[in-house]
């Protein structure tokens, strides 16, 4: 084989349907078609929802940008104040878009930005990426190409001509660009909108880009009179970078205006709020899975896109691996599907741990019925699904309410973000945790103003459409609010009485004074609660009771397996894999993979029957920076011959078996391929180790 790549043309372009792959993997392909369909549907919905979120979040930013673009060349457009225009035109209007470090998300932002610009401002939008433009020539080519294409799109009748131009033009220059621009404007005459925008360029902080932009801007500033140019920079870190990367002579030519995009954290919060903390989508993530996704976000890339991708993966995994996920759809549909469940699926329901718990809690007759009669089981399943749905509705409302409370606390014992609170509640009974205890403690110390404000917010949450069942709660909250109002008046009265008491004390004699002082001391010790404090306790207890009744962990809910995806391991393995650890384990402890008893060994030990590469690896760990191949070979053959039971004396006489020699060569070259060693010229027949340490 001496070819490095092989293309394979299919005999027929017939593609197997995805559904087939979906069903193939599972032996019990229960309702796989339906499952796949609902999976796709759900993902479609979620995807469109995320796009909507993205759009909404970007809306303001884009609006500002567009306003800026419209303004920037108004002088050019109107040509009223020519002198002013001249002054200003030597500067290129530039928008610096600070986008944050989640670079992977920026593609989407820029794509939608250029779409918006094309729709609203000008057809001439060029989007350049640092990696696409290794030099000034490439940049101009790219710029021209995109402009021509835009033009083609705008005016399809002249398509052919334009294509010819762009193909011929190998040498582009700024001059030709401005000529082309004149051409275009002439051709289209007065009909073209007189505001012309170009070049929305983006660049990340890579030094070669600087050169490109420097050149371009110097050139383009001369042409700015004929050619209205607007630059848009995408910046990942801070706006200061422009000044650091571009020399003063260049940056002075730029008229920069800053635009700040929404931070990725806020973006994530919105996404979680809209996707996870809602009953709109039946699919849910368990605590661990959510933790994995959030941790990847926080510790690895800050990419909302990747978060959503991980979410998608968990949807696919869930529908793929859980046969009962067929019920993971809107409640009405799910109820319908329950009736048509097969016997096998009923058995699947019966084997769910949460369902077993439920069965055990029932009376014995019902237990038998549940375990034997499919029809009865289906009935119960329907009600259970409904319960689950109601649980979610209540859960999210109360969660938001609790969040209002906890965010007002100092140091945020239950987390600042609602996602942290969500995780805490999903995993275990939140009221049993220490954090919750301390949070309640702190709540009992809230000032009145704060408490009232919080209560009002909570009432709003409960009144909002999702919290229909909470009319009682709302009443109760309103009652609390009213009582606080009353308290205020009562307090004033009390204050008066206290002051009068003080006046009284002045007039008494020594004996009486002593007596009253003692009494005061006494009362201080017992410290009667004021009315406000009592009411505060009542409120906190009320919230506590709400939490206890509605924020039960999801794992405790019957049939939670249907909608909750909880194999966090799969997700972690696929999204945040540790290839180096796998390699290390395979080399150090082959038993993990090859379940052979002879390989079984303790940590740090290795059986001498292990695969060659493991032995060679283990031996090489004993060496320093350089490894003598002869010693290595000898050591290897000592080990191997000992296993095979040949006479160890033969080893001493330098007669290494050829087969062993060959095996050694193979193992060593494998290590070389894996990057553990490399040949060294430092000493004859030595290789250099490329790793430091190991065990």
């Amino acid at each position: 084989m001496n070819e490095d790549r092989f293309p394979f043309q299919p005999l027929s372009s017939f593609l197997m349907k995805k559904t087939d792959y979906f069903s193939q993997g599972k032996n019990d392909s229960e309702d796989s078609g339906l499952r796949f369909a609902s999976c796709q549907l759900l993902w479609k919905q979620i995807n469109s929802e995320t796009e909507k979120i993205q759009e909404e979040l970007n809306k303001q930013l884009f609006d500002n940008l567009i306003r800026f673009l419209r303004q920037s060349h108004s002088e050019f457009q109107t040509k009223t104040t020519e002198w002013m225009c001249r002054m200003k035109s030597s500067e290129i209007p530039t928008a610096a878009l600070v986008l944050g470090v989640n670079v992977t998300d920026h593609d989407v932002t820029f794509k939608s930005l250029s779409e918006v610009l094309q729709d609203n401002v000008t057809p001439y939008v060029v989007s350049l990426q640092a990696k696409e433009c290794p030099g000034i020539k490439h940049l101009l080519q790219k710029l021209m190409g995109q402009l021509m294409d835009c033009y083609v799109d705008a005016d399809s009748s002249e398509e052919e001509e334009c294509v010819n131009i762009s193909q011929k033009k190998i040498r582009c220059s700024m001059a030709s660009l401005s000529k082309w621009y004149e051409n275009v404007t002439k051709k289209t005459g007065s009909e073209t909108p007189s505001k012309k925008r170009t070049s929305s360029s983006r660049h990340w902080q890579s030094p070669p880009v600087v050169v490109i932009f420097k050149d371009m801007e110097i050139i383009s500033s001369q042409h700015i009179h004929e050619f209205p140019l607007v630059l848009i920079f995408g910046i990942a870190t801070s706006p200061m970078i422009i000044h650091r990367l571009l020399p003063h002579s260049v940056s002075s030519l730029l008229c920069i205006e800053l635009f700040q995009s929404l931070s990725c954290k806020e973006h994530l919060a919105t996404v979680i709020d809209k996707l996870l903390l809602t009953t709109q989508f039946p699919f849910k993530l368990s605590e661990k899975v959510l933790q994995v996704l959030i941790n990847i976000f926080l510790y690895h890339d800050f990419s909302v896109q990747n978060f959503i991708k991980g979410f998608q993966l968990s949807i696919v995994e869930h529908f793929y691996s859980q046969p009962l996920s067929v019920l993971c759809c809107q409640l009405l549909e799910a109820k319908k599907r329950v009736t048509s469940l097969s016997h096998n699926q009923c058995e699947n329901i019966r084997s769910l741990p949460s369902f077993r718990r439920y069965v055990e809690s029932q009376v014995s007759e019902k237990q038998i019925a549940l375990l034997t009669e499919d029809s009865f089981l289906k009935e119960v399943t329907q009600t259970l699904l409904e319960d689950l749905h109601i649980y979610h509705e209540n859960y999210f409302t109360v969660l938001r309410c609790l969040h209002v409370f906890t965010t007002s606390l100092p140091k945020y014992p239950l987390g600042k973000q609602i996602r942290e609170l969500h995780c805490a509640c999903l995993g275990k009974s939140v009221w049993e945790t220490e954090e919750y205890e301390s949070a309640i403690q702190l709540l009992r110390m809230l000032a009145k103003d704060e408490l009232v404000a919080i209560l009002q917010k909570c009432a709003e949450i409960f009144i909002s459409p999702s919290g229909k069942q909470f009319s009682n709660t709302v009443e109760k909250l309103e009652e609390f609010l009213a009582r606080f109002q009353n308290l205020e008046e009562a307090n004033e009265v009390q204050d008066v009485s206290v002051s009068s008491q003080k006046e009284l004390q002045k007039k008494t004699d020594l004996y009486h004074l002593q007596k009253t002082l003692l009494a005061l001391k006494e009362s201080k010790r017992s410290k009667k609660l004021t009315k406000f404090e009592m009411l505060r306790f009542e409120v906190v207890d009320f919230i506590d009771s709400l939490v206890r009744s509605y924020l039960a962990p999801a794992e405790m809910q019957t049939l939670n397996e249907v909608v909750y995806f909880n194999t966090a391991n799969t997700l972690r393995e696929h999204l945040n894999a540790a290839p180096r650890i796998a390699l290390h384990t395979a080399l150090n402890n082959p038993y993990c993979y090859l379940k052979n008893q002879t390989l079984k060994s303790d940590v740090g030990c290795i059986s001498n029957t292990a695969p060659d590469i493991c032995i060679v690896y283990k031996l090489h760990l004993e060496c320093g920076r350089l490894i003598n191949l002869v010693d290595w070979l000898e050591a290897f053959s000592t080990v191997v011959t000992a296993v095979e039971g040949t006479d160890p004396e033969a080893v001493a006489t330098d007669q290494v078996d050829e087969i062993i020699h060959a095996r050694f060569i193979r193992a060593v070259s494998e290590l070389e391929l894996l990057g553990f060693i490399k040949p060294s010229k430092q000493k004859t027949d030595h290789v250099a180790r490329l790793t430091w340490g190991g065990c």
């Binding site: 490095d4 650890i581 032995i615 060496c623 290494v656 894996l674």
Partner: protein, 634 residues
């Protein structure tokens, strides 16, 4: 279950108190941070298991750890458990970095204590001086979360100082967060199904102690002397690791006996493997190490007696345990070394890499009198070698193959798949290709092929898959075209993202095909290749040309012992050639040399003085062989 105060702590203190009392003291003691080391002892069956400890700092953390199950056990009433306090002198403002420590205890004690109860093990909690903890941490790079590595490279003292400024609450918060991270993402410690991803970073990203020469041979003989059995690899990182060999069992039982005698002596601690696995993986190795150090410092005085007993046992044993016995017999030096290591942690690496002195033997393959193997014979020989673990490998492969349809589904949904793990994945992929990809357009790119470039891949896509004729100005244009052509097939949004999904497919299959292209495959085969090509090329040359090369080769061999030999300068060479009547002008010589260079027989190098030097890039052995052969021919 009971709690025993360590003897060291007890003797230093002369008193011990229960943890609640300690808490109050801590409260008064400013920022004092103590480390509570929980040690699990016990044996699973007859196998002694590696020790495992949890380091906890700040009373709050202790409380949190001990929350549901274990707290009761800490009270003195139950089993007379006590926890020793820590003298103020030891606290003395030394405050180990909180997030250094936290990596060790991301496990929950409640879970542990349950396990504990199940197995009826002994729970030991002891307080260790902060210095010890710090030492333990800094001794072993792997304990820390990777993030902290760079920081540690700085002066440790400064590090400590900085940390003192952080309030306890912040630290606790940080611990919580880091713990969170480790628990969720790191280490995969808990229950990574079949694969052994449980090895934490510590084992991989750790520093290495300097190796002695001859260590490998020692190890090999150790391995060889117990054929068919498991053998402990006694690397220097495992000074006191409980091992599975019968010898070491004996040794430890001996020391256990000694323990019974003196009752206080307890430096070997073991823990069930599963339990250990549940604990933070990165701390594993370091534990055994620091355990050692702790026992060193704590048990010096009373150790002598026990030590004699132990070494008596060791004397009965054969060489394998020699290395193991070594650290035990010279305790104080070891301790000193430890302290040195703390300060020289980083320098050590650079030292080892800067010194030109290499402590390896001077033996070469030449002296082995081995016939050199070329690719063919290598393959033939390897085919003769008996394949090992065929059944297990097959099992492993079948597991991977069962995932094929899942891969297909995910590929269709816009994800890309990365396979990783030890072993060649070529066969696996080939099988995937033939079984599932027959009906779709696909391209096989063999990345191990040395001369592969992005351009060639793109070319093969455009030319062979898309039937496009013509060239492109840049790869990017090419990419554009490919995208355009595939637009009907692919979703626009998806093609920009790779969406890697990682699958572990460790196969242990030999990298046969892959390594065959590494022409650097060590001297064994390159030598034979070079020799044959050398003779081949030179036989096609004129006798004069051969003479010229001989001259150069001889000069080369004369200078083979001179390490600063720069090569033969052109002028000198010309002079010599003239004297031997091989050339008559330097032009002819130059023409000849150009021919040599084209055949890669010589290399020219410009020296510092601007003179051109000639070198033969063939190793001396081959050259000698060649000259001998030439002499025979003549």
């Amino acid at each position: 279950m009971h709690l025993v105060p360590t003897r060291a702590a007890a003797t230093r203190l002369g008193a011990s108190c229960e943890p609640r009392g300690r808490e109050r003291n801590w409260g008064g003691g400013a920022r004092a941070c103590c480390s509570l080391r929980l040690q699990f002892r016990g044996q699973l069956g007859a196998r002694p298991l590696p020790p495992c400890k949890v380091y906890v700092r700040s009373p709050l953390a202790v409380r949190r750890l001990l929350r549901p199950g274990a707290r009761g056990a800490l009270l003195p009433g139950k089993g007379g458990c006590k926890a020793a306090g820590l003298p103020g002198a030891l606290r003395g403002g030394q405050c180990p970095a909180s997030y250094l420590v936290n990596a060790c205890w991301h496990c929950r004690l409640s879970a542990m204590s349950q396990l504990e109860l199940k197995r009826n093990k002994v729970l030991e909690a002891r307080f260790v001086a902060d210095e010890d903890v710090l030492k333990h941490i800094s001794d072993n790079g792997g304990v820390k979360v990777r993030k902290d590595r760079a920081q540690l490279a700085l002066n440790i003292k400064r590090f400590v100082k900085k940390l003192e400024n952080i309030s306890d609450d912040d630290e606790a918060q940080e611990i919580l967060e880091e713990q969170n991270y480790v628990a969720v993402l790191g280490a995969c410690a808990e229950d990574s199904l079949r694969n052994g991803s449980s090895a934490g970073g510590g084992e991989i990203y750790s520093f290495q102690t300097p190796k002695r020469s001859g260590k490998m041979a020692e190890l090999a003989s150790e391995l060889a002397q117990t054929p068919g059995k498991n053998v402990t690899f006694e690397s220097s990182q495992y000074p006191e690791k409980p091992a599975s060999t019968p010898q070491s069992n004996k040794k430890y039982s001996a020391s256990n006996k000694a323990q019974l005698k003196s009752k206080k002596n307890e430096f070997v601690s073991t823990t069930p493997y599963r339990l250990r696995k549940r604990l933070s993986a990165p701390s594993l190795r370091s534990d055994s190490e620091s355990d050692y150090s702790a026992s060193c410092s704590e048990e010096e005085e009373e150790e002598d007696k026990d030590h004699k007993e132990t070494s008596d046992v060791i004397l009965d044993q054969k060489t394998p345990s020699k290395t193991r016995a070594a650290p035990a017999s010279k305790k104080t030096p070891a301790k000193k070394l430890k302290e040195e290591m703390t300060s020289n942690l980083v320098e050590e690496y650079f030292e080892a890499h800067s010194s030109s002195k290499v402590l390896t033997s001077d033996r070469t393959l030449q002296k082995l009198q081995k016939r050199k193997l070329d690719q063919q014979t290598l393959l033939v020989l390897l085919n003769k070698a008996p394949p090992a673990f065929t059944a297990e490998l097959k099992e492993l492969n079948q597991q991977h193959e069962s995932l094929f349809s899942k891969w297909m589904l995910q590929l269709h949904l816009g994800f890309s798949i990365v396979l990783y793990g030890l072993g060649s994945k070529r066969d696996l992929l080939e099988k995937f290709r033939t079984s599932l990809l027959q009906d779709s357009v696909h391209l096989v790119v063999n990345g191990f092929f040395p001369s592969i470039t992005v351009r060639s891949i793109l070319n093969s896509i455009t030319e062979e898959v898309l039937d496009h004729v013509g060239t492109f100005r840049s790869p990017l244009d090419q990419l554009d075209l490919i995208m355009k052509r595939f637009k009907e097939v692919w979703d626009q949004a998806k093609q920009s993202l790779y969406n890697w999904l990682w699958y572990e497919t460790t196969t242990f299959s030999p990298y046969l095909e892959e390594t065959s292209y590494e022409n650097s495959l060590l001297v064994q085969q390159s030598g034979s290749l070079a020799l044959s090509s050398l003779t081949h090329v030179l036989h096609s040359l004129t006798p004069n040309a051969r003479g010229i090369f001989r001259l150069l080769a001889q000069y080369h061999l004369e200078n083979k012992d001179n390490p600063s030999y720069p090569g033969l300068s052109f002028q000198d060479f010309y002079q010599r050639c003239r004297e031997a009547f091989l050339v008559n002008s330097d032009l002819t010589l130059r023409a000849q040399l150009t021919e040599f260079r084209d055949h890669k027989l010589i290399r020219t190098k410009r020296g510092t003085d601007g003179v051109e030097y000639l070198l033969i890039p063939v190793d001396n052995g081959t050259l000698t062989d060649f000259l001998e052969k030439e002499d025979e021919d003549m």
